[in-house]
Symmetry: C2
Subunit: 233 residues, 2 copies
């Protein structure tokens, strides 16, 4: 049975319907501040393109962070709503592993990175020799300088975090740094599907109650400080 | 300026808007017999997703075969119509090179293959070490046995032609054959975009008059034989 995959972790979104053998449909694009309004129409269209419906899904998979705070909340809230309504298992996927999955059988280590803003990236390193991303590091929030300290040996860089600091990395790493083509720098529902099935195979599915976003650091937006009680305004 | 990329060469379709640095939007799916009715709505949606229009494009790119005869004709006819109407250059792309582009920096040779039906594949081998597909063979229509004769050393197989003959290849090649995950077996407009820019950089753009499909073999469907003149029906 297919899995519905949603990603809204970064400046782009991707929605797809994927089986173990095939990507049945996939819609990806840049979203800016409109994740919320474009996500459900894209879900409907992803189903329409392969003549499927929510009831036909084995599970709902969603990138669970790290990533854009607002994006994450929208993606996870939507996935939870769909999973709860259709009583389907929910699978949280690493958006960094999903990015790395864009470079299967890569002959070098693959550093996947999202732009974390505030001068940081969310990054992790993977081995793709088997075609499937195996984590070589944990997921980290790093400044470019801290990132550089983690990079050992030649590596392929994927993701908008890599594009953002491309010149810096090239300057410091020279020809030890290779950059994946634009098509590999987008998180894609199709590639993320393999991670969803891996989790399902290992019995690692969540429910709408048990899945939580992975933020890796404090939220950018904070509520205004409460006034001390008793003091006049 | 972005390029609009269309693919309808196989059992799937993909439409996307791509710049040199970024995939702005991409819509992919299986189409069966409905390429014609779903292609233009997908083009419109690919534009809508990134708030672009035909007039903003630098060129129109289309997979020029080999592939499904009907699919090719629909894709190329649509691309020619759009290019002619908007007075844009047209770029013909190899669908096999586009498939191979799904495995950048692959540590092995990459065999890209489409199911050519009638017991054949359309296949070609590429080197992806630079991240960009460099052809190691010409594009060929081959039976699985003929294909096997061409495979030297370990290789990664991508595309629906590889999936179709997976068991055969595994049986004969053992662990010399690796199979790319499902997300790499779909021709994707985003990955094909890099080929379009390569052609544009080399001044290899076509016009609606000069682009022709690459069939590699005779059409499956033939007109009924004409009756000899003078003979009664």
């Amino acid at each position: 049975m297919p899995v519905l995959v949603l990603d809204t972790c970064s400046g782009t979104f991707s929605v797809g319907v994927v089986t173990r053998e095939k990507v049945l449909s996939e819609i990806s694009g840049g979203m800016g501040r409109t994740h919320a309004s474009k996500l459900l129409p894209a879900v409907k269209q992803a189903f329409d393109l392969c003549s499927m419906a929510l009831a036909d899904m084995e599970a709902i998979a969603v990138t669970r962070g790290p990533g854009s705070f607002t994006g994450l909340r929208i993606g996870i809230a939507t996935a939870k709503g769909l999973a709860l309504a259709a009583q389907k298992p929910l699978v949280g996927i690493s958006p960094l592993a999903a990015l790395a999955a864009n470079a299967p059988f890569c002959g070098r280590s693959v550093w996947a990175a999202l732009d974390a803003k505030r001068g940081q990236v969310f990054a992790a390193c993977y081995n793709l020799e088997s075609g499937f991303p195996l984590a070589l590091t944990r997921e980290m929030a790093l400044t470019p300088e801290q990132w550089l300290e983690q990079v050992v040996g030649p590596a392929v860089f994927v993701g908008e975090g890599a594009s953002r600091y491309r010149n810096f990395l090239l300057e410091r790493l020279g020809n030890k740094a290779l950059f994946a083509p634009p098509s590999c720098c987008l998180i894609k529902a199709g590639a993320a599907g393999a991670l969803a099935y891996d989790a399902l195979n290992k019995g690692l599915a969540d429910t709408a109650q048990s899945l939580f976003p992975v933020y890796l650091r404090q939220a950018d937006a904070k509520p205004p400080q409460q006034k001390a009680p008793g003091k006049p305004a």
